[in-house]
Subunit: 191 residues, 4 copies
């Protein structure tokens, strides 16, 4: 079974997710600077979530590039990942409208945790579908970024109730951890 259509469908869904978030940047009433400045938290939330969805797209691109085959389990594991990613626009808007409220900030982390777990499941499904693919298996076998970020998200969720800025800091650190595409896969492919 070809992976092209899986990639094309995922590209479509991720392109829509990353773009519909901007629809929540509602045009202010009036043309004053004050009205524009009021949008700052929603705008910053959009930037953070754009980076997160961009990270997922980049890593998805790299992981599927390293895989030769896909099967029915991979299709569903991929849809499962897209489901959690599709909730990011919702949590982004809720956080943007309630910047200091713990529940939206915690929920943002809950959705990111589920997305990270879904990414991990997709990884496992791809490896079991490509058992003799050493590029993928070796590289992913040493995976630690996924684990680190799930731990950080799980830390951020209760932290949102203690100090909301600390939770934001963790989300920004996490984005940094994921920022670079997986150099190990690239390194494996070159060697």
């Amino acid at each position: 079974m070809g992976k092209n259509r899986l990639e094309a469908f995922s590209d479509g869904v991720i392109a829509i997710i990353i773009t519909i978030m901007v629809l929540e940047l509602k045009v202010p009433h009036g043309a004053s600077l004050a009205a524009l400045v009021e949008l700052t938290p929603v705008f910053l939330g959009y930037v953070l979530s754009f980076v997160y969805v961009g990270i997922y797209w980049n890593n998805h691109h790299h992981m599927l590039h390293a895989s030769a085959r896909v099967n029915g389990n991979v299709l569903w594991a991929n849809l499962h990942l897209l489901f959690w990613l599709s909730l990011i626009p919702f949590t982004t808007t809720w956080v943007g409208e309630n910047v200091m409220a713990p529940l939206p900030v915690a929920l943002y982390g809950v959705v990111l945790s589920f997305a990270a777990v879904a990414y991990y499941i997709l990884e496992k499904c791809l490896i079991s579908c490509n058992p003799s693919d050493h590029i993928l298996a070796n590289a992913v076998g040493k995976e630690y970024k996924g684990a680190v970020s799930v731990v950080l998200y799980l830390l951020a969720i209760p932290l949102a109730y203690v100090h909301v800025y600390a939770a934001y800091a963790l989300y920004i650190i996490c984005a940094g951890v994921w920022f670079l595409p997986d150099r190990r896969i690239e390194a494996q492919m070159r060697s």
Copy 2:
């Protein structure tokens, strides 16, 4: 005539259908848990419809993968299927806002029935366009899932007026019947 562009267009439309449903998860006013909990029926409706649209995408992927050619009839049969799928976000939202009302729950089944019939017509068009394609013809010739699910939908429609939860149960059972990609096509291709 190549089938690539048919697949790409269908991927685009299905990607949009599956993603715009999440726009109906309106961000609650305020940041309370109660406001979030109120969204539960809309969220569950989103999950069910996401699974349904995912099932259609998976099966569409498998069926077209097994077909060598497409023609004008296939293009229109495919657009006909996409038309009915495009109504799923509407019925999903209506059900989500009126969880216990029989009419929305019945209409959800009506749209699913038409989508199932449209899928069946697409199947027949593909077979008549690929008459000597034994992988497709043998596999689809034994098709029973489509028939079973149409029967279940037609049962669910009146049932929504008797006991709304029974109709929901049928929709969930149906999703289960369709959940796995068509193993018979895969089996045929391997043998």
Copy 3:
């Protein structure tokens, strides 16, 4: 210059156009049959416009399939066509909300006329870019459907002010004229 990306981009834009129209099918307040029945004109408008956009996608698919090359003029002629198609959701919704009003019904025809002219320009650009392509040139050289439909749209625009149903009838007839993919191109390719 490859035509694949032109096709992919057009597929994306047309997929979005055909799908965002369904967002205008606003979920009714309440779950009564009367509320659903009130949506009938908007729904019928959606069906007609879905068929029109589907026709453009099918014909676009056929015309580009018959063309070997594209150039800068073709890219812009294609964007010009997509521009007019992108206005169809707007005119569809306006007609759906003002079924008996002449201006929206006339504007629907104005946008269709511009789309038909844009399609004709794209056709000419493709022929001048592929001058020795006999499949495309012969087939398109006998083109009459475009001319007929522009005449019908130009007739429908004033007719909307005389008898609105006559204008609707013309739009439906036009859709019929365009309904089938261009058999002449297919015939040329077979011979």
Copy 4:
């Protein structure tokens, strides 16, 4: 690393950006000509932004067509460009609703400036990723349109506070400068 998926993802995002702008053409209340005429500034803003996004798509298409390879830096430079393009629907709507107000008109130029800079960064990343690619390097090495348009945008921003129509004129001139695909790359490829 293949560039196909980068192109497909960019096509998806740009297709959505160009199409969601039309959602801001809100259907007028009532069916009068006056109500339609009131939409003129929003419509003209849509036309200008459609042309701008179309220009970016065309140039993006040409530049990537001339590049053999992409890497992780190119992926992020591309996402950075898509981020700024994704803000165009927002600034377009704000300008359309406040045609004579300096701040929205200036912000329109700010977003275009950042998009132009992002395009320049993407260009540099592609050249450093394809160091021995003479088609791309020679052509882009003589690039002046990007510089000219950034200067024009930076001029338009303060000008919006002096004379708003002068700023509009600059935006229209800029679109003209970018309108044609980069003939130099095409010329290089033919020679």
